[in-house]
Symmetry: C2
Subunit: 474 residues, 2 copies
Amino acid sequence: MALRTGDHSQAATNGLKEKVLTLDTMNPCVRKVEYAVRGPIVLRALELEQELRQGVKKPFTEVIRANIGDAQAMGQTPITFLRQVLALCVHPDLLNSPHFPDDAKRRAERILQACGGHSLGAYSISSGTQLIREDVARYIERRDGGIPADPNNIFLSTGASDAIVTLLKLLVAGEGGTRTGVLIPIPQYPLYSAALAELNAVQVDYYLDEERAWALDVAELRRALLQARDHCRPRALCIINPGNPTGQVQTRECIEAVIRFAFEEGLFLLADEVLAGAPAGRGRRAAARAPVTHPAVARPPVQVYQDNVYAEGSQFHSFKKVLTEMGPPYATRQELASFHSVSKGYMGECGFRGGYVEVVNMDAAVQQQMQKLRSVRLCPPTPGQVLLDVAVSPPAPSDPSFAQFQAELGLAPDMFFCLRLLEETGICVVPGSGFGQREGTYHFRMTILPPMEKLRPLLETLSQFHAKFTREYS
Amino acid sequence: MALRTGDHSQAATNGLKEKVLTLDTMNPCVRKVEYAVRGPIVLRALELEQELRQGVKKPFTEVIRANIGDAQAMGQTPITFLRQVLALCVHPDLLNSPHFPDDAKRRAERILQACGGHSLGAYSISSGTQLIREDVARYIERRDGGIPADPNNIFLSTGASDAIVTLLKLLVAGEGGTRTGVLIPIPQYPLYSAALAELNAVQVDYYLDEERAWALDVAELRRALLQARDHCRPRALCIINPGNPTGQVQTRECIEAVIRFAFEEGLFLLADEVLAGAPAGRGRRAAARAPVTHPAVARPPVQVYQDNVYAEGSQFHSFKKVLTEMGPPYATRQELASFHSVSKGYMGECGFRGGYVEVVNMDAAVQQQMQKLRSVRLCPPTPGQVLLDVAVSPPAPSDPSFAQFQAELGLAPDMFFCLRLLEETGICVVPGSGFGQREGTYHFRMTILPPMEKLRPLLETLSQFHAKFTREYS
């Protein structure tokens, strides 16, 4: 018998009323979402922390988060210059303080000039402050040896995740056998699987080759694509380079092969380049023809750790650079979106949620739709925009803050080990310098939270990494 | 003839290749999204700004954004105490500065203690920093006269929009005639229509009664619901109180009637209370039984403009308070989500994207799913979390910053007029004090960007508001 309004009411009074929203009635796509990085282990870790606070005795006194690439939570200190500029923007009274260097003040004033009401408290335009998008474009040009970047193709975002989800949203369409499929690497960063589940798109797995240091193989891409065409319409190919959590860096030849494959098969390319390390690190490869239009932003010849850590011959190449240098028809037709963020690299400013995407060869009408879609969320958080701006244009040698900025990028050996471990294996441990150690000795600290079946491979990975690290740097 | 891989490639080389992503192939739900607040007018305004910068002559020298509730872009200055605490958190070296008051330092230290690595650069947990959710819970308890609030039911978010979209995501399900319908007021804030279009949910309009100052009428809710049941499954009712863009404040009786209606009809209640004005403003109604567990956060007896502006008898009541006071079965069964943000009210800190949602009577398993869904986006931006924390717990009378904080909440008459105009009509103009004016006179400035057919009703609304304002405050 169907319930009418009166019956509903009666059932409710009798305590029989069902909730509106239950596991059975909620969005089935959300139920399918899995997100291991913050799954049950992390929820249990939270409970443990509360128990510890309440004085419950445990075999450990503190929970160490080895689950997520969160450098500052693990003791990495922020870069002073970034925080100085942001503090000045947040509280402009400090512009009168003698305790801030002039270049930080000039930067803050320049950014505030570009903000509505000269305040971070105003919304920016939806794609992000124009000036900051221009600075990002100049950074990309330096990174790519002078290949032009258009600020109108750059959208600032709330971390890279936000931009990735926006692109996936645009791409999903169709029903049943024509539903959009997206090729993603396995292992992958679980944002992709989670977002695809939420959008009810089809996740198409291609496997990285662990035997060849997690290299990407076009034959495997083709296998995955052909199999997927039986049950969905694959329309996008996602590449994570450098790999997350696998840390491999693709060769130029591999990138070219991937681009040819995407072009021939009609796939939109999504290049997740957030682990491409320190933007400044690529400054020394800047070509003389890079147009630098903002006098306040000089080309940075800063060298940071990213240049040192990758094995010889494994230089980072951006997908956009390779695509452009391949010439037509690839350079003029292949659709590409490249993502970056301030959470990784030398900044490690995860909590501020700054990031961007650059789109290349996107259909103009679709780009307008993307603009519209972004505008519904008003704007990315302004503090993350500020940090992004400083990250893509660090102090130049003539700037008062240059020396300190350089010095802060030097890493203690144990910090360097832990950062490499994190970048290459995804294992997050704590450098011994955070606890004090006898001079000339170096340690790290880790906890043993995961269950045995997860701990064993973790310890094996750690052992392999340690052997490799010792080989490389001794 | 179907194209095979080789043909694709040939077609491409001949320049015949279609883009992967075009208006025809993109997500059809995204195409349906409309977002008037940042639509074509705003895009044209951006172009105009660029032309002005390039020296093109126009009948005006500056574009004034009267399109969005962005107080600081319109000249409202930030509250010093909020920015001091945030600057201290961003750049903790300032904790040694004699130029910051002790209470701001204590606040910053307390917040940093609760952050991973004592840094805003670390991710917080996905639902937001535990300490800040506890402070928000205490604020809600003060607001509601001591009715308990559980920090575990509070999720911090990237502005209120983010939280609203999360709830809608959980609610959408079904296909065709069983697709989720959501009742929204007309006029509404266009986030709702945009998000529903994107999620392919069914927008069910109910009309506010302009003749009765945009009041909400349960008979009209029922009409809309019954009609909608022919083609969808209405599962949620969205209420915007105070109204946006209409500014009306619901009476307690009206809220009770809405709750009974939602309960009887099996609707999840979404209460958008972001225009509920200054959190501090309700402190003086705090009941003695509100449990205040954090010694650093005293109950604020601050009085702010919200208490003065609404017409007599139109006190703000939160849906949660009314729901709880109605007793069982409503208090124990009716599902509710209430949204708030730091963009509105006395803070006006739009750019920082701080906000929260409190869920009431949500099914425990669904709440876990919500937690999981939130975790995919890692965490809300930490600076917005900090501002939210300070906004919900402003300085107490014994604090050194109390006097200045109080003073900054006093508004010049023209600022007051403009804020009221904005809150009640959505028209954003600039107070004359921003340009200088003869003492004792008050002005505002507006531009005439919109086309004639939009300008006429705008000017009529303005004229009506002016008459009403003069009546009320003379």
